[in-house]
């Protein structure tokens, strides 16, 4: 909670503004009570004429306007403060996403990250828009009220001073008790609340087995059990606020009794003072109670903020780049003890090897052997933990980022299509204007022109999110068009394992053959012919480079390679 408070207090201007507005609101509250009492006193006890009261009414009206105006300003400042902090949170999150190279590998947690950016940040709102303004008001206004009451009738102030501290003490005690009870029931509650979703998710299954009708009873039963458990938790919370009400009632009652005694028996204070105090005291306690309920809002915000901080504090190791440019022809790549380690998840032992220009490289190994991590290191998407990747004799770190990526295409198994037109999705590869003819030619080479032209809007058809869905094969072909338009000198290709239609298979082979003429191609290979044709095969196992060489060399010198081929030849037969 202190971290969030700090964020608020860093915004000195807003806080000062809140303090001033709270002060004004306090003054207005006192002024309003004062004028009320003035008027009542004059009319009731002094038989004043209505006209003589008009200036007082003016004052009362002004006090009301000031009170509402100050209240509005406080609310507004809270909303602005919350918006400001949320903006900062969102920007920091986005920045951390952008700087986190590992994102390119782990798509699994994307949903969680989106919900962090949307829901968790939204939940922080209450702390700044409700809790902080209430806190500032609670720091300032009750003290003002107490001061005024003190000057009027110090005994009343003394009674407040003795009784009021019970409220926060009680609040803390009760909060703890409720939390304990809630924790106890937590498991039960989450189980009941999940039943409805569970049954909805299984509705198809239930229907297919003819069991759907029976589940209504289960839903009702779990809903009612949920109600009863929740009510037990709530009961203790409600009971606690009942106690709070009693404390403030008791306090107000004692004060009223004290005032009454002095007014009736001792005649030592005036109607004016008595009425004035009677109006101010409930205001005092209401503020404390409001603060109590704002405190509950703050709790939810704090746990959301903790989630956000946890994400922001995750270690990042952004890639560094230099300023040297590389020629637009296939580079000579040297791996000098390249290694990678991240947490316990994926690691790659130091790799060494040479990849001459125009070579065809195949990376083979079982799933989980580190093939993709290796590709990401080669692509300059992951920072190596140790060693160097030399490009034409220059360390990757010294190359300009733009110059490097200008030469690179990465055709993954599941290329990502962005919301936009087909044309925009194809153009993303090239950093230059593309003529219609060039676009069409590239699309023809990638075997997708025919399909695009049958679409009503052709290349202008919207795809991606909320647009037309494309099959896996069509996505692959769009990725090929990207490569054709970009004309890279280094291509990283993640060969599909399965599930493509025949035509896409053929197109992929032909296109790759064409692209190989002008570039180095490094493939995570899943097909025998790709492996056989490679100039260089990297054989990975458990994150280690076990062997390197061409097909014949490996067949001769490295037994597991031959075994793998043999297993494959006999494979597919059950």
């Amino acid at each position: 909670m202190n971290d969030l408070k700090q964020l608020a207090f860093q915004r000195k201007k807003s806080m000062l503004f809140l303090a001033v507005a709270s002060f004004l609101k306090g003054v207005a509250t006192i002024g309003q009570a004062l004028f009320f009492v003035f008027i009542a006193d004059r009319v009731f006890l002094q038989d004043a004429s209505f006209e003589s009261l008009l200036p007082l009414f003016g004052g009362l009206f002004a006090a009301i306007l000031l009170r509402v105006g100050a209240g509005y300003a406080i609310g507004r400042a809270g909303v602005n403060l919350a918006a400001d902090v949320k903006n900062e949170f969102r920007n920091n999150l986005i920045k951390s996403f952008a700087e986190n190279p590992l994102l390119s590998a782990s798509q699994g947690q994307s949903g969680q990250k989106v919900s962090l950016l949307m829901d968790a940040v939204d939940e922080v709102d209450g702390f700044f828009s409700k809790y902080i303004p209430q806190m500032i008001q609670t720091y300032i206004i009750p003290i003002l009220l107490l001061g005024v009451i003190f000057t009027q009738n110090w005994t009343s102030a003394a009674i407040i001073l003795i009784t009021a501290p019970f409220i926060p003490v009680f609040m803390a005690m009760v909060g703890k008790g409720t939390k304990k009870k809630a924790d106890e029931k937590m498991e039960q509650l989450s189980q009941f609340s999940g039943t409805f979703l569970d049954i909805l998710q299984g509705l198809s299954t239930l229907k297919l087995f003819g069991q759907a009708e029976k589940q209504q009873k289960a839903i009702r039963k779990s809903s009612l059990s949920f109600r009863d458990s929740t009510m037990e938790v709530l009961k203790s919370a409600f009971l606690s606020s009942l106690m709070l009400e009693y404390i403030s009632m008791l306090s107000i009652g004692i004060i009223a009794l004290e005032i009454g005694l002095r007014l009736v028996v001792f005649d030592s204070i005036s109607f004016f003072t008595a009425f004035f105090i009677l109006i101010l005291v409930p205001d005092f306690f209401n503020l404390l109670k409001d603060f109590g309920s704002a405190f509950h809002t703050a709790r939810g915000s704090v746990s959301a903020a903790n989630q956000i901080s946890a994400e922001l504090e995750k270690s990042r190791s952004p890639l560094t780049w230099g300023s040297e440019t590389i020629a637009s022809e296939p580079p000579h790549l040297s791996l000098e003890g390249l290694s990678f380690q991240y947490g316990e998840g994926f690691s790659l032992a130091p790799l060494a090897g040479e990849i001459p220009p125009y070579s065809q490289v195949a990376i083979v190994g079982k799933s989980g052997s580190g093939k993709t991590t290796f590709m990401h290191l080669l692509a300059g998407l992951f920072p190596q933990t140790e060693g160097r990747l030399m490009i034409n004799g220059v360390p990757r770190e010294n190359i300009a980022e733009k110059s490097w990526f200008d030469q690179l295409s990465y055709i993954s198994q599941n290329p990502y299509l962005f919301a936009g037109t087909i044309r925009e999705n194809m153009e993303i590869g090239a950093d230059r204007p593309i003529s219609d003819e060039e676009m069409l030619a590239a699309a023809e080479k990638a075997g997708i022109a025919e399909m695009v032209l049958t679409l009503e809007q052709g290349f202008e058809t919207r795809i991606g999110e909320a647009g037309r869905g494309l099959s896996g094969g069509e996505k692959q072909r769009i990725a090929l068009v990207r490569a054709f338009l970009k004309r890279p000198s280094l291509i990283l290709f993640d060969e599909p394992t399965t599930g493509l239609d025949l035509r896409t298979e053929q197109i992929l082979q032909n296109s790759l053959r064409e692209l190989q003429k002008t570039s180095t191609v490094i493939t995570v290979a899943h097909r025998l012919h790709t492996i056989k044709q490679a100039d260089l095969i990297f054989f990975l196992e458990d994150g280690k480079l076990e062997a390197a060489g061409n097909h014949d060399q490996l067949l001769q010198n490295y037994r597991p390679y031959g075994e793998m081929l043999a297993a494959q030849q006999g494979g597919g037969v059950r």
Binding site: I94, T498, L502, Q569
Partner: protein, 568 residues
């Protein structure tokens, strides 16, 4: 308000709790009004006399009303929350009642996994309906009307002032802001959706964005979308703040005018000055509660939207169906000229497909992902209505058949099979409520899950089971059902090939004379099938037995060759 009629009806089913809550709410409100009023009156009285009795009465009133108010508030909270949760239970049951006939077709139709969590979220958000939409204006209205009625005995003028205040704070201001809210809400929702889409795209497309050097631009875009959404939220917050300020202004002005009108009448000698303080105090106390109405517009709008969305889902027309029951015994499945496209999509998912599956035959469907295999099976299950063509089962056109009776004769294993929170036993009993432990254990043994005790816990969605275990459990469930039509969609794709092979043998043994349709993720082990259907782009490109297709050296043959050369 029309949209919320159904929710209101369900809320009012809990008449007792709702009325008790309203009664307590009224008591709490009126007691605090009485507390303030009596203290105003007594302090005025005390100023005039020196009688001890006044003081005693005053102290007694304060205590009495104070405790009554606090206690009633407690009762109000208790009963209103109870009623809310009961209402949620009714809502869930009634929604389920209406949704059940639409399943499973509706899930395929929406084709989005978030439909269900949306339903659950919308139902949850309706818990605010009673607490913050229906209840506050009702209680507030009754408390204010009673206060006005009481005041009218002292001064008609003051009563009129309060009545105007009531109309403004409980009706006019919330209505005005609800209308404004409805206008702006759509935009904020769209902004939020847009940000979520952009963020998802940023994360999923990270690698492609990075390589194509669009990451920085996208980052800026994302930041500006976030700022835009934030701005919208800010506006909404300011709007709520404005509503709250206006409401409290009106409330304070009511007490201002009560004092003004009262002072005027007292000066004119038409009202006893003794009552002035009391009337002012009750106006303050009565209007203190209007703050709750400031949040009304957003909760009202939220409840309304949730109700509309829920209604939209269950308002889907159910699949037309007849009443004829399927005969049990050998059945066939026949599709003629069947075409189907998903709503909102132009391309056909299944395009002019005709197949006849004879009783007792075994058919495999193969093809690339997205070729329409699963859709074809869904059509055979009569989950979606055909756009064109005809489906008949056991010689009966499906339109004349009762849907449930079709499924009654089928053992189905889908790609995603649901398992409920419970035990292995409770999940198996879904297939056959009368199955004995022995039968269940036998079924588990057939899928090589004999090591699973029937009491074993199954977590939500079976998350404590591996993919292969879930598939095998689903097959065990189908085995227990033991009908003569088997429709299996990639039933063993996550099971190792040896076990998969054994399970197939078990299936074919138990269902020796049954009809099997199996979608297969690979082309191995299809030699024993009577018929193989090869699909591409929603069409059947080849049909025949394994031998025939391999001899033909066409599509299937080439697929087989690719598969042989692929290293997984």
């Amino acid at each position: 308000m029309n949209e919320l009629k159904h929710v209101l009806k369900l809320t009012l089913m809990e008449k007792k709790d709702v009325s008790i809550a309203i009664l307590f709410g009224f008591l709490a409100g009126i007691a605090s009004v009485a507390l303030m009023g009596s203290s105003g009156y007594l302090i005025s009285k005390a100023a005039l006399t020196t009688q001890m009795t006044t003081l005693v009465v005053m102290a007694a009133c304060l205590k009495l009303f104070g405790f009554a108010s606090a206690l009633s508030r407690y009762g109000e909270r208790l009963y209103s929350h109870r009623a809310t949760f009961t209402m949620l239970s009714h809502l869930r049951v009634s929604f389920f009642e209406r949704l059940a006939p639409l399943a499973p077709g509706i899930f395929g139709k929406y084709r989005s996994g978030d439909l269900l969590s949306r339903i659950v979220g919308d139902v949850e958000s309706l818990q605010n309906f009673l607490l913050r939409v229906f209840y506050p204006p009702v209680v507030l209205g009754i408390v204010l009307l009673s206060t006005i009625f009481f005041s009218s005995f002292f001064s008609m003028g003051i009563a009129v002032v309060m009545l105007i205040g009531l109309l403004l704070t409980v009706v006019a201001v919330p209505a005005l802001f609800s209308i404004r809210k409805r206008r702006s809400d759509g935009k904020l929702r769209a902004d939020r959706g847009n940000l979520a889409v952009e963020a998802t795209e940023f994360l999923y497309g990270f690698r492609d964005l990075k390589i194509h050097q669009k990451l920085d631009a996208k980052e800026q875009q994302l930041k500006s979308d976030a700022a835009y959404y934030n701005e919208g939220q800010k506006k909404e917050g300011l709007e709520e703040n404005l509503a709250q300020s206006i409401n409290s202004l009106v409330a304070l002005l009511v007490s201002f005018f009560v004092l003004g009108v009262g002072a005027y009448f007292v000066a004119a000698g038409e009202l006893n000055g003794l009552y002035l303080a009391m009337l002012v105090m009750i106006s303050i106390a009565a209007f203190e509660n209007v703050a709750a109405m400031a949040a009304f517009p957003s909760y009202f709008e939220e409840s309304r939207k949730a109700a509309v969305r829920l209604e939209e889902i269950v308002a889907e027309p159910a699949l037309q169906q007849g009443i004829v029951k399927l005969p049990s015994g050998p059945l066939d499945i026949k599709l003629t000229g069947a075409s189907f496209s998903y709503p909102g999509e132009k391309s056909l998912a299944v395009d002019d497909v005709s197949v006849h599956l004879k009783p007792g035959t075994k058919t495999a469907i193969v093809g690339s992902s997205g070729s329409g295999k699963s859709t074809l099976m869904q059509l055979m299950l009569n989950v979606f209505p055909l756009d064109h063509g005809q489906l008949s089962i056991g010689g009966e056109p499906v339109e004349t058949l009762a849907q449930e009776s079709i499924w009654q004769e089928m053992n189905v294993v889908l790609q995603e099979n649901h398992f409920f929170y419970g035990t292995i036993r409770s999940n198996l009993l879904i297939a056959d409520p009368r199955a004995s432990d022995e039968q269940m254990e036998q079924a588990l043994a057939k899928v090589q899950l004999e090591l699973f005790p029937l009491e074993m816990n199954v977590e939500e969605k079976g998350q404590n089971l591996s993919g292969g275990q879930k598939q095998r459990l689903a097959i065990a469930r189908a085995l227990l059902k033991g009908k003569s039509l088997w429709l299996l969609d990639e039933p063993v794709s996550s099971v190792d090939s040896l076990t998969g092979h054994t399970i197939y043998q078990e299936l074919f043994q138990q269902g020796e004379n049954d009809l099997f349709v199996i979608i297969s993720h690979d082309l191995a082990g299809l030699e024993k099938m009577d018929q193989i259907i090869v699909m591409e782009n929603g069409r059947i490109v080849e049909t025949g037995s394994y031998e025939e297709l391999m001899k033909k050296k066409s599509y299937f043959h080439q697929l087989k060759q690719i598969e042989n050369s692929v290293f997984a």
